[in-house]
Symmetry: C2
Subunit: 327 residues, 2 copies
């Protein structure tokens, strides 16, 4: 099966409701920017590039309906704070509006460009992997996190398409279980070898020498290469570093926020305690307990072996490499 998280119908945006996966494949049709903003906030769609493309279609819907485009963009901008692709996509749509361009065509272009960008990331990244490797990934930076194909999982797809033998370990990625529900599902659907583990198990398998590489996505990369990604990424990076395993971040240039000097300036969304204390609406913790739920963490660039972008592979010193690629 070909995994399609986002379908554009010309006058409606259909999103695969990722909250129902892997139990149910259901698309929900959205007709205005407000519905798209709610879908992003409620995590019907997630993943930095997918959020960006969905928001662009939200602005296109506002323009089609004659709604206030600035107000639509403002509401969409607030739907998730950490992913910079959202801000990037909205800024691009507003510039297109200011230039008098057709906003539906602009959003459609962004969709196509996102898929192409993922395929380039895939090709650049696949070249970094050996012919027979086991790769650990965290969260879902797959087709489901983008317009299609994926960033981290795009590298896996490109390597498999290129004839390499790739076994993937997907950690489940608590609390929202994107690894168990999305990455394991997406790879299993496409016949790619995937093994599910809990987040607590990756250290043990690093210790056993199981992993040849780690590949993850990113929600925002600062100008110095520090990368915000799903909570738990930093732990995996520390483990990779302690075991001498390469740690790769795969992301399009739209994920790099050149106005953000370091990871310390990236806002970290704190989400609901309920996502920690209940799973599928069943409580797993005592009532009235204190809970913390930072949804992202920041991996300092010193722990990142390379950043695989749609414009090539960036390596330390990242500040120079990033300045160069944006020149």
């Amino acid at each position: 099966m070909h995994v399609e998280p986002i379908r554009w119908r010309g006058d409606a945006l259909e999103l695969l409701d990722q909250r129902l996966l892997p139990r149910e494949v259901r698309y929900v049709a959205l007709h205005d920017a407000h519905e798209v903003a709610n879908a992003i906030r409620d995590m019907m769609v997630r993943g930095a590039p997918a959020i960006g493309v969905s928001a662009a279609f939200g602005v296109a819907l506002a323009a089609q309906r004659g709604d206030d485009v600035d107000a639509a963009a403002a509401e969409l901008r607030k739907s998730r704070p950490t992913a910079v692709n959202l801000m990037w996509a909205l800024d691009r749509m507003l510039r297109a509006r200011d230039a008098g361009r057709d906003l539906t065509a602009e959003a459609e272009a962004m969709f196509r460009e996102d898929v192409e960008s993922c395929k380039r990331i895939g090709r650049f990244g696949a070249a970094l992997l050996g012919n027979s490797v086991t790769v650990l990934t965290h969260c879902n930076a797959g087709a489901l996190a983008t317009a299609g194909y994926g960033t981290a999982l795009g590298v896996i797809r490109a390597a498999v398409e290129g004839g390499k033998r790739v076994a993937v370990f997907a950690d489940e990625t608590r609390p929202y279980l994107q690894g168990a529900r999305l990455t394991a599902w997406e790879l299993h659907e496409e016949g790619i070898d995937v093994t599910l583990i809990t987040d607590s198990m990756s250290g043990h398998f690093f210790q056993q020498g199981k992993f040849d590489a780690v590949i993850v996505g990113a929600d925002r990369i600062a100008a110095n290469g520090d990368a915000a990604n799903k909570i738990g990424t930093y732990t995996v990076a520390v483990l990779a570093n302690a075991h001498g395993v390469p740690f790769y971040v795969a992301a399009p240039l739209s994920t790099i926020d050149v106005h953000c000097p370091t990871g310390a300036q990236i806002p970290i969304e704190e989400r609901s305690a309920l996502e920690v204390t209940s799973i599928n609406n069943v409580s797993i913790a005592p009532e009235g307990i204190s809970v913390r739920h930072p949804a992202f963490d920041v991996t300092p660039s010193r722990l990142i072996t390379a950043i695989i972008t749609d414009r090539g592979v960036l390596r330390a010193p990242y500040e120079e490499a990033i300045r160069e690629v944006f020149r």
Copy 2:
């Protein structure tokens, strides 16, 4: 509330069914060694010292009923492979039988000694903590894991009783959620400040400088100080080491297996994939997926700041310290 995992009724062993916590506090009465072995294997009771004491009562029940004590001990020995306290308790019961001692009295003595041992661990460990500290713990090495009071949480209890301000972060400890279901419940019941996080979050809070110490229990400690404990412990140890935070293992001497030279010789139980792919009988992963489920990992002694035992605090070089304490 005073947490009592094990109640001896003279002719029956009542175990608090820990699988139902925190939703329900229910005791189950067991009348023979076979029922006790099943309860251990099915994790109605868990935690190395609690398993040991429960198994001792299982042997006592066999003796009371006139069942074959050797057969009972053999069945109990196979119920969980990693915790050495189980083997230690059974060996002690068989020696008591050989010496003609009353087995009920012997098991009762082991119960009392376990509580006393935890209180000594608590006192030795509390002296290592500052007056106002935040401690991360993993899994449940609490009253629920022992005859009462706990090992790692015994240190917390002793520190609180001694007037120290201790805030505890409990990671949830997937897949079996001992942190969320047991540690958070046990501490919350007793009014000790506890915050629940997922396993994936501890790295982020280490990075923020949140933790002053890590204290965990152990299921088996090798003669060189390597410690097997619940899966995920090794990851926490690597994180503590990377951030310069002391990593303490709290366990009675009965957890040290002097016949096991290093952690490499400790058998690691692989448990059912279902414990990973479903929570409260609700599936969270695609059907037919590959899963790994090592239930324990081994933390090498070089990552352990000190082992807090009922006979004092052991420090590197552990091989000498352990030889000395067993002399």
